[in-house]
Symmetry: C2
Subunit: 670 residues, 2 copies
């Protein structure tokens, strides 16, 4: 099995000079981030430093063989000696590793569950007139979603329909009828439906799936690793459901993304403006921040600024980027660096992936850190309890915090890097379909599948996941992307992966010229010529925030439908070169159950069990047609992805030849 990258044991560097040497090439591939770390970090401790301070990390924890699920523990499993090879209760490595993995998936699923539920509740509030600052921005999407989940939209007003759709989405969280979750069942292929039924992993209530897997993994419950993993996969499908609810509700409330051009990286911060960084995952608040900033422009000018500039961080950043063209300042690992420019007047966080260190960091500057979710606070940060009923007023309060902070700026501390780049975003699956329809209006997705069958494209890859300090920031994303592009793989991206690629200029048309292989170039050019998109076509199609990974799944389903096959035969792969969050575990897990090869670049804690490792890499393939490719070397991982695509395309061609010979449909198995 591939193992961890070498870490520099005990290398704890507190001096800036020594740190610079380490940071230069090893810690980040982001030029702007590197500049900030080199020019603005004297005496400031960041997650880059804390990573080094944590070396060496505990090998029991790294490999998943430490169990703390009861007060007898912690138990740490060693392969030698019968007594040591089991925890006090008798749990062996495979039980402990599987439990840890399943609980990690539950962590991810609960995050997306809460996110989706929040969005559905917001839509319900809109429908019931309780959230006056919001509206159904995309009635067409509302109607598409309604049809998709079995609601007849005819003769219903937007409000009536919004209520019905919102309640049906909430029903996936609260119902007791033991039917498959609507937002899962409506979006998958018949083949997957049968597979999930056969393997008994269809969740019937989103929160019950999470509760059950936690219960399954307490002391003295399930010791069977395969059973536990299947419990985890059921939870992963619940995760998918919550994500799809979130994406659908967000599109209805804020609009289905369409191609938009903006800029990315820390250089988007502007000294003359009041800079408000919105950070987290939920578009509900950030959408209002944008509106509030517009309305408070005069106050900003009065305070001496040229105006208010909203920039995005992490997935809240992606939400604003793809729908409003708001520039993206940072992805996960460079959130601290944004504050270290000295030019962020307020950082507003909602939920997930913000660092608890932001407060102690912002204390070194004038930056006002504002938390807004009742279940996501940072001690001593300013907390403004955001709610949809008073959304705009609260957003104004927050923006005014930035205006006040601006007045206290220390100009000596301002160090904004020059680096920024053009970035395209907004490539929802619907937007991609429109582009393809310019070539083939009747069967838009056939443009894509034909290109794969002809060998022009090797297939499609979706970039997902985070940053992880265990590897140099963004390097994995960039390496894999460049390799795949050269090998004619059409690239989609979400979340911090999309952020990485955007910051490096890979979501631009220019990158096509620089990195795309001939097939990918000719494919994109053909579409560009037919569709004439305003901003051209980028090398990487930015699909949104991390909940928007479901857009990739929807796209793969379109391909499967076009071919008349099930997902495990579609040349579509997923890569998370820098997975970090529990959400990445759950997303990766459902992509595997959906039937796709999933490359993971940072090892999750499963290496302590050969069995669990093998279930992920091999048994999963036998059962679901998808499997994990664990490879911490990005180039090697990328090669394996291309191999996986080639294998699928090769099989497709064989099946195509057979189908033509016997005049039948394509074989749908795998």
């Amino acid at each position: 099995m591939p193992r961890f990258r070498e870490t520099k044991v005990g290398e704890i560097l507190n001096q800036a000079v020594a740190r610079k040497k380490i940071l230069d090439k090893v810690r980040t591939a982001d030029a702007a981030g590197k500049w900030v770390l080199e020019n603005a970090s004297d005496g400031i401790i960041t997650s880059y430093d804390r990573y080094l301070a944590q070396q060496p990390q505990c090998s029991f924890g790294l490999t998943g063989v430490c169990c703390r699920n009861c007060v007898q523990g912690p138990c740490r499993i060693m392969p030698t000696g019968e007594a040591k090879s089991r925890g006090i209760c008798g749990a062996t490595a495979y039980t402990i590793v599987a439990r840890g993995l399943a609980r990690g998936i539950a962590g991810g699923a609960s995050s997306h569950s809460d996110h989706g539920r929040h969005m559905a509740k917001t839509l319900l509030e809109v429908a019931e007139g309780r959230a006056p600052d919001y509206k159904v921005s995309d009635p067409a999407k509302l109607r598409r979603v309604a049809l998709k989940v079995g609601i007849n939209p005819e003769g219903k007003s937007d409000r009536e329909l919004a209520k019905e759709v919102a309640l049906k989405a909430l029903n996936d969280y609260y119902r007791f009828d033991e039917k498959p979750l609507t937002w899962l069942d409506s979006y998958i292929t018949p083949g997957r439906r049968a597979k999930f039924k056969h393997t008994n992993i269809i969740p019937t209530n989103l929160m019950q799936a999470i509760t059950e897997v936690i219960s399954q993994t307490v002391m003295g419950m399930d010791a069977d690793p395969v059973n536990i993993i299947f419990g985890g996969l059921k939870t992963a499908l619940a995760d998918f459901t919550g994500m799809h609810v979130a994406t659908d509700m967000s599109d209805i409330l804020f609009g289905t993304p369409e191609p938009v051009a903006t800029e990315a990286n820390l250089g988007v911060l502007e000294e003359e403006y009041i800079n408000v960084a919105t950070h987290g995952h939920n578009p509900t608040l950030s959408d209002m921040i944008v509106e509030a900033a517009l309305q408070l422009e005069p106050e900003a000018i009065k305070a001496g600024a040229k105006g208010i500039k909203i920039v995005g961080v992490c997935c809240t950043g992606n939400e604003l980027l793809m729908r409003k063209g708001i520039p993206l300042a940072a992805n996960q690992a460079s959130q601290e660096l944004a504050i270290m420019t000295g030019a962020v007047d307020a950082m507003v966080v909602d939920v997930q992936c913000f660092l608890p260190s932001l407060k102690v960091l912002s204390d070194n500057y004038h930056t006002r850190l504002v938390t807004t979710a009742i279940n996501a606070k940072i001690p001593t940060a300013t907390h403004i309890d955001f709610n949809e009923e008073e959304a705009l007023e609260l957003a104004k309060d927050i923006v005014r915090q930035a205006i006040e902070a601006y007045k206290r700026r220390n100009k000596d501390k301002i160090r904004i890097p020059k680096e920024k780049t053009k970035a395209l975003a907004g490539f929802s699956t619907e937007a991609i379909e429109s582009l393809l329809a310019a070539v083939n209006p009747e069967q838009p997705w056939k443009v894509l599948t034909d290109a794969i069958e002809s060998g022009e494209l090797a297939g499609v890859a979706l970039f997902a996941g985070c940053n992880n300090q265990k590897v140099a920031q963004d390097e994995g994303h960039l390496t894999v992307a460049k390799y795949l592009a050269k090998n004619n793989v059409l690239l989609l991206a979400t979340g911090c992966a999309a952020g990485a690629l955007a910051k490096a200029g890979l979501t631009t048309p220019g990158a096509v010229e620089a990195y795309a292989g001939d097939g990918l170039k000719s494919f994109l050019k053909r579409i560009e010529e037919a569709a004439k998109p305003q901003y051209g076509l980028p090398l990487v199609f930015h699909q949104g925030s991390c909940v928007d990974n479901v857009r990739g799944l929807d796209l793969a389903v379109k391909m499967a439908e076009t071919w008349g096959i099930d997902l495990p035969r579609v040349p579509f792969v997923v890569t998370a070169p820098e997975d970090m969050h529990e959400k990445a575990l759950s997303i990766g897990s459902w992509f595997v159950t959906m039937g796709f090869p999933v490359h993971v670049g940072v090892m999750p804690p499963i290496e302590g069990s050969e069995l669990v490792y093998s279930v992920g890499t091999q048994i999963a393939y036998d059962v679901f047609g998808g499997s994990f490719i664990f490879d911490t070397d990005p180039e090697s991982g990328a090669k394996k992805l291309v191999d996986a695509l080639d294998y699928r395309t090769w099989k497709l061609r064989i099946h195509r030849a057979a189908a033509e010979k016997y005049n039948t449909a394509l074989a749908s198995g795998y």
Copy 2:
């Protein structure tokens, strides 16, 4: 802060001789268990050995400052150095410790949630005629519960009412109306209702509370330890709800326990009989096993046995003990020892607290290990998927496994210890009320409250919780119980605590003579004389399995109502001298929020944060009137419990004096 007991670092003993020395006094206070370990353990590795093999345990894990909530981890916090005092994300010790605690509570709550839901579904199936082998065994309890939760039972058949009650219970799991959970709200005092509302910890959907706290504790969410702990307390109240549902449904289905006499400890196994040990927590299966054993008696006799003997282990054991007088063979830590007698022909487990080592252990004997729950398997054990529709038939299949195994018994390996003792059980709160009513039919609970006010009794203590290999088995329970009894505290017990006290003969009338102080003696004698209970009155009132801790809460509410005060002023304390399971964490937490001092004898992993420790021991008192007493020395812990009771009684007397002087009601605050 009190710290851990000394552990014998690195002392790993594989030879029986050396082990005996260690085991003799240090590892268990149970005479039967000691005998088995000394006489039947050659070459067999048990949890007693695995505990030693795990020494030294990781101090980061022990104190809760190891975080593995994302793939960047594990991060281990050290107090020195700014970089090391935070995880890679910037989380400090208090965040990490609080997260771990909250997730532990979620583990407990999910266990009880699933248990309660299963019981409610079974009642629904009975009501709908889908579980023909079960019935409403206690229509009076059904009606009492209906009234308690706001259902009018008048004019309804048992079936109709059972359906309504079951659906209302399930509604606590599936509803979306944001009202307080029915099974919480119906059983608490007005004071607690107001307190929980004020502190915003009332759960409105049981599984949502669990999902939310998992989401609250993912990477990049809540960093505020107090906020996280309050999320944990909300989840703990969800835990209470699931437990009360479980207890109520079990009483309706299988009968509210009434005093019953039987025997306890490993000596209850009989060589001439086919011994079937039922183990786990859920009475649904075990109830059928008892019936199946009765019906299959002829087959057993044909196989050469005198008959079939059912014995209980853990809380399934307690369920059968209190309702059917089935003898209790073992509590948690001696479950392996039961198999090591060589006389257990089948061990049947349902859910929770069974050791994964049971299979490898039973492979050394003829014992057939049968798992029965789809979410709680042990690899290579016989699995029979139990369901309520075919309950009796499946139970017969299981008992037949025992009959078959009996034929393969190795007589040379049989080593049954002589130790067993009489044991009384079945002291539900209703049963205790009946006893008290013999003295005062109008106001039965006044018999108890008067005894406390007069000083005859010091108060009431409830024993809860597990065994934990970190301390000598049962020793904590016995030490605390004897100390409290001597100090005239009325004793209740549940779960493995009750098992420990039963096995040591403390649930007998004889123990009153041996251990009770004069006040407790006279109190019990007075009731005994009035009620003339068939088996006399024991020193400790065995209230059932661990979900039945809610019976203790109900009893405390009766006391509070009698006095007209809120719970934090009732001289009622809780002790878990050997807490081990995540369920113990959640139970302890809700008892604290209910307003009681809760002694905990094995440190949960919170010592890494002074703040979290102080919230549990001090802030909790200020907010809820209850708090944790962490004390790993059982006698010292017991003293603190008596002090806590004395303090409450002293205050009560002051308030009584004031109330009499001014002719008012007792003050209800704390």
